[in-house]
Protein backbone atom coordinates (compact mmCIF):
# COMPACT_ATOMS: atom_id res chain seq x y z
CA UNK A 1 0.00 0.00 0.00
CA UNK A 2 2.81 2.39 0.81
CA UNK A 3 4.32 2.05 -2.68
CA UNK A 4 0.88 2.92 -4.10
CA UNK A 5 0.62 6.08 -2.00
CA UNK A 6 4.24 6.99 -2.70
CA UNK A 7 3.57 6.86 -6.43
CA UNK A 8 0.47 9.03 -6.07
CA UNK A 9 2.42 11.43 -3.89
CA UNK A 10 5.26 11.66 -6.41
CA UNK A 11 2.79 12.45 -9.20
CA UNK A 12 1.22 15.16 -7.05
CA UNK A 13 4.65 16.62 -6.26
CA UNK A 14 5.64 16.62 -9.94
CA UNK A 15 2.29 18.19 -10.91
CA UNK A 16 2.77 20.84 -8.21
CA UNK A 17 6.36 21.63 -9.21
CA UNK A 18 5.66 21.69 -12.93
CA UNK A 19 2.47 23.63 -12.32
CA UNK A 20 1.21 23.26 -15.88
CA UNK A 21 -1.31 20.45 -15.61
CA UNK A 22 -3.66 21.89 -13.02
CA UNK A 23 -3.39 25.42 -14.39
CA UNK A 24 -4.11 24.42 -17.98
CA UNK A 25 -7.19 22.42 -17.01
CA UNK A 26 -8.56 25.21 -14.81
CA UNK A 27 -7.76 27.88 -17.39
CA UNK A 28 -9.39 25.93 -20.19
CA UNK A 29 -12.51 25.35 -18.06
CA UNK A 30 -12.70 29.05 -17.25
CA UNK A 31 -12.26 30.10 -20.89
CA UNK A 32 -14.88 27.73 -22.30
CA UNK A 33 -17.53 28.54 -19.70
CA UNK A 34 -16.84 32.28 -19.95
CA UNK A 35 -17.11 32.35 -23.72
CA UNK A 36 -20.30 30.33 -24.03
CA UNK A 37 -22.67 32.91 -22.47
CA UNK A 38 -21.09 35.55 -24.69
CA UNK A 39 -21.87 33.42 -27.72
CA UNK A 40 -25.36 32.48 -26.67
CA UNK A 41 -26.52 35.87 -25.46
CA UNK A 42 -27.78 37.24 -22.18
CA UNK A 43 -31.07 35.30 -21.98
CA UNK A 44 -30.95 34.13 -18.37
CA UNK A 45 -33.63 31.48 -18.84
CA UNK A 46 -31.64 29.82 -21.60
CA UNK A 47 -28.37 30.05 -19.65
CA UNK A 48 -29.97 28.61 -16.53
CA UNK A 49 -31.36 25.71 -18.53
CA UNK A 50 -28.09 24.82 -20.26
CA UNK A 51 -25.85 25.47 -17.23
CA UNK A 52 -25.57 21.83 -16.04
CA UNK A 53 -24.75 20.64 -19.54
CA UNK A 54 -22.21 23.38 -20.20
CA UNK A 55 -20.43 22.84 -16.89
CA UNK A 56 -20.22 19.07 -17.38
CA UNK A 57 -19.16 19.13 -21.04
CA UNK A 58 -16.50 21.75 -20.38
CA UNK A 59 -15.26 19.73 -17.38
CA UNK A 60 -14.83 16.62 -19.53
CA UNK A 61 -12.98 18.58 -22.22
CA UNK A 62 -10.71 20.17 -19.62
CA UNK A 63 -9.98 16.78 -18.07
CA UNK A 64 -9.24 15.33 -21.51
CA UNK A 65 -6.48 17.92 -21.99
CA UNK A 66 -4.31 16.48 -19.23
CA UNK A 67 -5.23 12.81 -19.72
CA UNK A 68 -2.76 12.33 -22.55
CA UNK A 69 0.15 13.14 -20.25
CA UNK A 70 -0.81 10.60 -17.59
CA UNK A 71 1.74 7.95 -18.65
CA UNK A 72 3.57 9.85 -21.37
CA UNK A 73 6.21 11.55 -19.24
CA UNK A 74 6.89 8.31 -17.37
CA UNK A 75 7.38 6.46 -20.65
CA UNK A 76 9.69 9.15 -22.02
CA UNK A 77 12.00 9.34 -19.00
CA UNK A 78 12.05 5.59 -18.39
CA UNK A 79 10.17 5.68 -15.07
CA UNK A 80 7.43 3.45 -16.46
CA UNK A 81 9.86 0.57 -17.06
CA UNK A 82 11.15 0.83 -13.52
CA UNK A 83 7.60 1.08 -12.14
CA UNK A 84 6.79 -2.09 -14.08
CA UNK A 85 9.61 -3.99 -12.34
CA UNK A 86 8.63 -2.58 -8.95
CA UNK A 87 6.68 -4.16 -6.11
CA UNK A 88 3.34 -2.91 -7.43
CA UNK A 89 1.44 -4.75 -10.15
CA UNK A 90 0.84 -2.52 -13.17
CA UNK A 91 -2.88 -2.50 -12.29
CA UNK A 92 -2.01 -0.71 -9.05
CA UNK A 93 0.38 1.63 -10.91
CA UNK A 94 -2.49 2.59 -13.24
CA UNK A 95 -4.84 3.07 -10.27
CA UNK A 96 -2.31 5.20 -8.38
CA UNK A 97 -1.76 7.41 -11.40
CA UNK A 98 -5.53 7.71 -11.96
CA UNK A 99 -5.89 8.79 -8.36
CA UNK A 100 -3.21 11.44 -8.85
CA UNK A 101 -4.94 12.61 -12.03
CA UNK A 102 -8.24 12.86 -10.19
CA UNK A 103 -6.66 14.86 -7.37
CA UNK A 104 -4.94 17.26 -9.78
CA UNK A 105 -7.78 17.60 -12.29
CA UNK A 106 -11.15 16.27 -11.11
CA UNK A 107 -11.06 17.90 -7.69
CA UNK A 108 -9.83 21.38 -8.77
CA UNK A 109 -12.36 21.47 -11.63
CA UNK A 110 -15.13 20.46 -9.24
CA UNK A 111 -14.15 23.27 -6.87
CA UNK A 112 -14.11 25.79 -9.71
CA UNK A 113 -17.49 24.68 -11.12
CA UNK A 114 -19.80 26.65 -8.75
CA UNK A 115 -17.84 29.81 -9.47
CA UNK A 116 -18.44 29.30 -13.18
CA UNK A 117 -22.05 28.44 -12.40
CA UNK A 118 -22.44 32.11 -11.39
CA UNK A 119 -21.72 33.11 -14.99
CA UNK A 120 -24.58 30.90 -16.14
CA UNK A 121 -27.02 32.22 -13.54
CA UNK A 122 -27.13 28.86 -11.81
CA UNK A 123 -29.14 28.99 -8.60
CA UNK A 124 -26.96 28.84 -5.46
CA UNK A 125 -29.12 26.01 -4.09
CA UNK A 126 -27.89 23.79 -6.92
CA UNK A 127 -24.18 24.29 -6.15
CA UNK A 128 -24.06 21.54 -3.57
CA UNK A 129 -25.61 19.03 -5.95
CA UNK A 130 -23.38 20.20 -8.80
CA UNK A 131 -20.23 19.60 -6.78
CA UNK A 132 -21.54 16.34 -5.35
CA UNK A 133 -22.34 15.00 -8.81
CA UNK A 134 -18.94 16.06 -10.12
CA UNK A 135 -17.15 14.49 -7.16
CA UNK A 136 -19.06 11.30 -7.85
CA UNK A 137 -18.52 11.37 -11.61
CA UNK A 138 -14.92 12.53 -12.04
CA UNK A 139 -13.32 9.34 -10.63
CA UNK A 140 -14.84 7.56 -13.64
CA UNK A 141 -13.32 10.19 -15.91
CA UNK A 142 -9.83 9.69 -14.47
CA UNK A 143 -9.89 5.89 -14.37
CA UNK A 144 -11.50 5.41 -17.80
CA UNK A 145 -9.13 8.07 -19.06
CA UNK A 146 -6.19 5.97 -17.87
CA UNK A 147 -7.28 3.24 -20.30
CA UNK A 148 -7.36 5.71 -23.18
CA UNK A 149 -4.06 7.28 -22.13
CA UNK A 150 -2.40 3.86 -21.97
CA UNK A 151 -3.81 2.78 -25.34
CA UNK A 152 -2.64 5.93 -27.14
CA UNK A 153 0.70 6.09 -25.31
CA UNK A 154 3.03 5.52 -28.25
CA UNK A 155 0.90 7.30 -30.84
CA UNK A 156 2.42 10.48 -32.15
CA UNK A 157 -0.05 13.34 -31.61
CA UNK A 158 -2.36 10.90 -29.90
CA UNK A 159 -4.59 13.69 -28.58
CA UNK A 160 -7.24 13.37 -31.27
CA UNK A 161 -7.26 9.58 -31.04
CA UNK A 162 -7.59 9.84 -27.28
CA UNK A 163 -10.54 12.22 -27.58
CA UNK A 164 -12.32 9.96 -30.09
CA UNK A 165 -11.62 6.91 -27.94
CA UNK A 166 -12.86 8.53 -24.75
CA UNK A 167 -16.02 10.03 -26.29
CA UNK A 168 -18.20 6.90 -26.03
CA UNK A 169 -16.75 5.97 -22.64
CA UNK A 170 -17.52 9.39 -21.16
CA UNK A 171 -21.10 9.57 -22.44
CA UNK A 172 -22.75 7.66 -19.55
CA UNK A 173 -20.94 9.83 -16.99
CA UNK A 174 -21.95 12.94 -18.90
CA UNK A 175 -25.61 11.95 -19.28
CA UNK A 176 -26.17 10.98 -15.67
CA UNK A 177 -24.02 13.80 -14.30
CA UNK A 178 -26.11 16.36 -16.17
CA UNK A 179 -29.35 14.60 -15.25
CA UNK A 180 -28.48 14.70 -11.56
CA UNK A 181 -27.74 18.42 -11.60
CA UNK A 182 -30.73 19.24 -13.78
CA UNK A 183 -33.06 17.29 -11.53
CA UNK A 184 -31.84 19.16 -8.49
CA UNK A 185 -31.67 22.64 -10.01
CA UNK A 186 -34.88 22.56 -12.05
CA UNK A 187 -36.78 20.29 -9.70
CA UNK A 188 -38.48 18.42 -12.53
CA UNK A 189 -37.54 14.90 -11.56
CA UNK A 190 -36.00 13.20 -8.52
CA UNK A 191 -32.25 13.64 -8.09
CA UNK A 192 -31.31 10.39 -6.40
CA UNK A 193 -31.70 7.82 -9.25
CA UNK A 194 -29.36 9.67 -11.62
CA UNK A 195 -26.90 10.33 -8.83
CA UNK A 196 -26.81 6.68 -7.77
CA UNK A 197 -26.28 5.53 -11.35
CA UNK A 198 -23.44 8.06 -11.60
CA UNK A 199 -21.88 6.56 -8.46
CA UNK A 200 -22.30 3.08 -9.92
CA UNK A 201 -20.54 4.12 -13.14
CA UNK A 202 -17.63 5.51 -11.11
CA UNK A 203 -17.37 2.41 -8.92
CA UNK A 204 -17.43 0.10 -11.95
CA UNK A 205 -14.79 2.21 -13.69
CA UNK A 206 -12.60 2.25 -10.54
CA UNK A 207 -12.82 -1.53 -10.30
CA UNK A 208 -12.37 -2.48 -13.96
CA UNK A 209 -10.42 0.29 -15.69
CA UNK A 210 -7.04 -0.39 -13.97
CA UNK A 211 -7.01 -3.92 -15.44
CA UNK A 212 -7.63 -2.63 -18.94
CA UNK A 213 -5.07 0.15 -18.50
CA UNK A 214 -2.46 -2.31 -17.19
CA UNK A 215 -3.02 -4.64 -20.13
CA UNK A 216 -2.49 -1.72 -22.49
CA UNK A 217 0.63 -0.61 -20.60
CA UNK A 218 2.12 -4.12 -20.75
CA UNK A 219 1.67 -4.07 -24.49
CA UNK A 220 3.14 -0.56 -24.79
CA UNK A 221 6.25 -1.48 -22.81
CA UNK A 222 7.20 -4.29 -25.18
Amino acid sequence: MSAFLELTRRDLTVAWKEGGTVGVALGFYLVVVTMLPLGIGPDLNVLRRIAPGVLWVALLLAALLSLGRMFETDLEDGSLEVLATGPLPLEAVAAAKSLAHWLTTGVPLTVLAPLLGLLLDMQPEAYGVLMLSMLAGTPAVSSLGAVGAALTLRTRRGGLLLALLMLPLFIPTLVFGIEAVRAASLGAEPFLPSFLILCAISLAALALAPFAAAAALRFQLQ
Partner: protein, 204 residues
Protein backbone atom coordinates in the same frame (compact mmCIF):
# COMPACT_ATOMS: atom_id res chain seq x y z
CA UNK B 1 19.86 -18.50 -5.55
CA UNK B 2 20.23 -19.30 -9.25
CA UNK B 3 18.80 -17.47 -12.22
CA UNK B 4 18.25 -19.98 -15.01
CA UNK B 5 17.11 -19.22 -18.53
CA UNK B 6 16.62 -22.00 -21.02
CA UNK B 7 16.43 -21.85 -24.76
CA UNK B 8 15.29 -18.23 -24.87
CA UNK B 9 14.23 -16.69 -28.13
CA UNK B 10 12.94 -13.24 -28.83
CA UNK B 11 11.14 -11.82 -31.81
CA UNK B 12 10.89 -8.08 -32.40
CA UNK B 13 8.72 -6.77 -35.22
CA UNK B 14 8.58 -10.20 -36.87
CA UNK B 15 12.38 -10.43 -36.86
CA UNK B 16 14.13 -13.03 -34.73
CA UNK B 17 16.64 -11.18 -32.54
CA UNK B 18 18.14 -14.24 -30.87
CA UNK B 19 17.27 -17.88 -30.33
CA UNK B 20 18.51 -20.76 -28.28
CA UNK B 21 20.04 -18.67 -25.49
CA UNK B 22 20.54 -20.60 -22.26
CA UNK B 23 22.23 -19.15 -19.23
CA UNK B 24 22.63 -19.83 -15.55
CA UNK B 25 23.89 -17.27 -13.06
CA UNK B 26 24.48 -18.23 -9.44
CA UNK B 27 24.90 -16.18 -6.28
CA UNK B 28 27.93 -13.93 -6.43
CA UNK B 29 28.36 -14.42 -10.16
CA UNK B 30 28.47 -11.81 -12.88
CA UNK B 31 27.55 -12.38 -16.50
CA UNK B 32 28.53 -9.83 -19.11
CA UNK B 33 26.58 -9.73 -22.35
CA UNK B 34 28.78 -8.84 -25.27
CA UNK B 35 28.09 -8.34 -28.91
CA UNK B 36 27.81 -5.65 -31.55
CA UNK B 37 24.95 -3.15 -31.70
CA UNK B 38 21.68 -4.85 -32.49
CA UNK B 39 22.80 -8.28 -31.33
CA UNK B 40 20.02 -8.40 -28.73
CA UNK B 41 21.71 -7.45 -25.44
CA UNK B 42 18.99 -4.99 -24.47
CA UNK B 43 16.27 -7.35 -25.66
CA UNK B 44 17.69 -10.17 -23.52
CA UNK B 45 17.91 -7.95 -20.44
CA UNK B 46 14.37 -6.66 -20.91
CA UNK B 47 13.16 -10.23 -21.40
CA UNK B 48 14.75 -11.32 -18.12
CA UNK B 49 13.28 -8.27 -16.35
CA UNK B 50 9.84 -9.40 -17.51
CA UNK B 51 9.22 -6.37 -19.71
CA UNK B 52 9.19 -8.49 -22.88
CA UNK B 53 7.56 -11.87 -23.12
CA UNK B 54 9.99 -14.39 -24.64
CA UNK B 55 9.02 -15.91 -27.99
CA UNK B 56 10.25 -19.27 -26.69
CA UNK B 57 12.00 -20.67 -23.66
CA UNK B 58 11.65 -20.04 -19.95
CA UNK B 59 13.22 -18.02 -17.15
CA UNK B 60 13.09 -19.11 -13.54
CA UNK B 61 14.77 -18.61 -10.20
CA UNK B 62 15.96 -21.63 -8.26
CA UNK B 63 16.30 -21.36 -4.52
CA UNK B 64 14.48 -18.07 -4.16
CA UNK B 65 11.14 -17.06 -2.69
CA UNK B 66 8.60 -18.89 -4.90
CA UNK B 67 6.00 -16.18 -4.28
CA UNK B 68 8.09 -13.60 -6.09
CA UNK B 69 8.41 -13.41 -9.86
CA UNK B 70 11.78 -13.01 -11.58
CA UNK B 71 10.99 -9.36 -12.27
CA UNK B 72 10.34 -8.72 -8.57
CA UNK B 73 13.82 -9.96 -7.68
CA UNK B 74 15.47 -7.70 -10.27
CA UNK B 75 16.72 -4.15 -10.32
CA UNK B 76 16.58 -3.01 -13.92
CA UNK B 77 18.58 -0.03 -15.17
CA UNK B 78 17.91 0.55 -18.85
CA UNK B 79 18.99 3.17 -21.35
CA UNK B 80 16.52 5.68 -19.91
CA UNK B 81 17.31 6.99 -16.47
CA UNK B 82 13.90 7.11 -14.82
CA UNK B 83 14.73 10.50 -13.35
CA UNK B 84 12.10 13.24 -12.98
CA UNK B 85 13.61 16.53 -14.11
CA UNK B 86 11.48 18.69 -11.80
CA UNK B 87 12.41 16.79 -8.64
CA UNK B 88 15.70 17.24 -6.83
CA UNK B 89 18.33 14.50 -6.69
CA UNK B 90 17.26 13.57 -3.18
CA UNK B 91 13.53 13.59 -4.03
CA UNK B 92 14.16 11.32 -7.00
CA UNK B 93 16.23 8.90 -4.97
CA UNK B 94 13.88 9.06 -1.98
CA UNK B 95 10.87 8.26 -4.15
CA UNK B 96 12.46 5.14 -5.63
CA UNK B 97 13.74 4.18 -2.19
CA UNK B 98 10.26 4.28 -0.63
CA UNK B 99 8.69 2.75 -3.73
CA UNK B 100 11.02 -0.27 -3.56
CA UNK B 101 10.66 -0.48 0.21
CA UNK B 102 14.19 0.66 1.04
CA UNK B 103 15.40 2.29 4.22
CA UNK B 104 16.78 5.74 4.97
CA UNK B 105 20.25 4.20 5.46
CA UNK B 106 19.96 2.64 2.01
CA UNK B 107 19.15 6.04 0.55
CA UNK B 108 22.16 7.70 2.18
CA UNK B 109 24.42 4.81 1.17
CA UNK B 110 23.25 5.04 -2.43
CA UNK B 111 23.81 8.80 -2.61
CA UNK B 112 27.24 8.43 -1.06
CA UNK B 113 28.27 5.51 -3.25
CA UNK B 114 27.75 7.48 -6.44
CA UNK B 115 28.98 10.84 -5.15
CA UNK B 116 25.53 12.43 -5.22
CA UNK B 117 25.39 13.61 -1.59
CA UNK B 118 26.63 17.10 -2.46
CA UNK B 119 24.09 17.39 -5.30
CA UNK B 120 21.07 16.35 -3.26
CA UNK B 121 19.19 19.66 -3.39
CA UNK B 122 19.74 20.30 -7.09
CA UNK B 123 16.78 19.69 -9.43
CA UNK B 124 17.61 16.79 -11.74
CA UNK B 125 16.97 19.02 -14.75
CA UNK B 126 20.30 20.75 -14.06
CA UNK B 127 22.35 17.55 -13.87
CA UNK B 128 24.78 16.53 -16.59
CA UNK B 129 24.22 13.29 -18.49
CA UNK B 130 26.76 11.48 -16.34
CA UNK B 131 25.24 12.77 -13.10
CA UNK B 132 21.79 11.63 -14.23
CA UNK B 133 23.27 8.23 -15.03
CA UNK B 134 24.76 8.06 -11.53
CA UNK B 135 21.38 8.94 -10.03
CA UNK B 136 19.80 6.19 -12.11
CA UNK B 137 22.43 3.66 -11.02
CA UNK B 138 21.99 4.69 -7.38
CA UNK B 139 18.54 3.06 -7.58
CA UNK B 140 20.06 -0.43 -7.37
CA UNK B 141 21.65 0.35 -3.99
CA UNK B 142 18.54 1.97 -2.46
CA UNK B 143 16.69 -1.23 -1.73
CA UNK B 144 18.02 -4.76 -1.69
CA UNK B 145 17.15 -6.96 -4.64
CA UNK B 146 19.36 -9.93 -5.48
CA UNK B 147 19.50 -9.66 -9.27
CA UNK B 148 20.85 -6.58 -11.00
CA UNK B 149 20.17 -6.12 -14.70
CA UNK B 150 22.26 -3.26 -16.05
CA UNK B 151 22.03 -2.15 -19.66
CA UNK B 152 25.16 -0.22 -20.68
CA UNK B 153 25.69 1.11 -17.14
CA UNK B 154 28.88 2.99 -17.98
CA UNK B 155 27.41 5.26 -20.67
CA UNK B 156 28.35 8.91 -19.93
CA UNK B 157 30.20 7.98 -16.72
CA UNK B 158 33.61 9.52 -16.05
CA UNK B 159 36.54 7.49 -14.68
CA UNK B 160 35.75 8.21 -11.04
CA UNK B 161 32.11 7.21 -11.48
CA UNK B 162 33.13 4.02 -13.32
CA UNK B 163 35.36 3.22 -10.36
CA UNK B 164 32.44 3.85 -7.99
CA UNK B 165 30.28 1.54 -10.08
CA UNK B 166 32.92 -1.19 -10.00
CA UNK B 167 33.14 -0.93 -6.20
CA UNK B 168 29.34 -1.09 -5.85
CA UNK B 169 29.20 -4.13 -8.14
CA UNK B 170 32.00 -5.86 -6.23
CA UNK B 171 30.18 -5.32 -2.91
CA UNK B 172 26.96 -6.64 -4.43
CA UNK B 173 28.66 -9.77 -5.79
CA UNK B 174 30.55 -10.36 -2.54
CA UNK B 175 27.22 -10.26 -0.70
CA UNK B 176 25.91 -13.05 -2.91
CA UNK B 177 24.14 -10.89 -5.49
CA UNK B 178 23.71 -11.70 -9.16
CA UNK B 179 24.67 -9.40 -11.98
CA UNK B 180 23.84 -9.43 -15.66
CA UNK B 181 25.22 -6.45 -17.55
CA UNK B 182 25.31 -5.53 -21.21
CA UNK B 183 28.40 -3.50 -21.85
CA UNK B 184 31.03 -2.42 -24.31
CA UNK B 185 33.31 -1.05 -21.61
CA UNK B 186 35.43 -2.92 -19.11
CA UNK B 187 33.61 -3.20 -15.76
CA UNK B 188 36.82 -4.44 -14.05
CA UNK B 189 35.19 -7.63 -12.83
CA UNK B 190 37.93 -10.26 -13.37
CA UNK B 191 35.75 -13.25 -12.46
CA UNK B 192 32.86 -12.29 -14.71
CA UNK B 193 31.70 -14.82 -17.25
CA UNK B 194 30.93 -13.59 -20.73
CA UNK B 195 28.12 -14.39 -23.12
CA UNK B 196 28.72 -13.33 -26.69
CA UNK B 197 25.45 -12.66 -28.46
CA UNK B 198 26.88 -12.04 -31.90
CA UNK B 199 25.63 -14.60 -34.38
CA UNK B 200 23.00 -16.13 -32.09
CA UNK B 201 20.09 -15.08 -34.25
CA UNK B 202 18.51 -17.59 -36.53
CA UNK B 203 16.81 -16.51 -39.71
CA UNK B 204 13.46 -14.81 -39.52
Amino acid sequence: MHLVAENLASRRGGHLVFAGISLAVGAGEALLLLGPNGSGKTTLIRTIAGLLPPAAGSIRIEGGNPARSVGEECHYVGHLNGVKASLTVEENAAFWCRFFGGTHEGLEAALAAFGLASLRDIPAAYLSAGQKRRLSLARVVLARRPIWLLDEPTVSLDHAAQGALTRVLAVHLAAGGLLIAATHADLCLPDARKLDLSGTAGTA
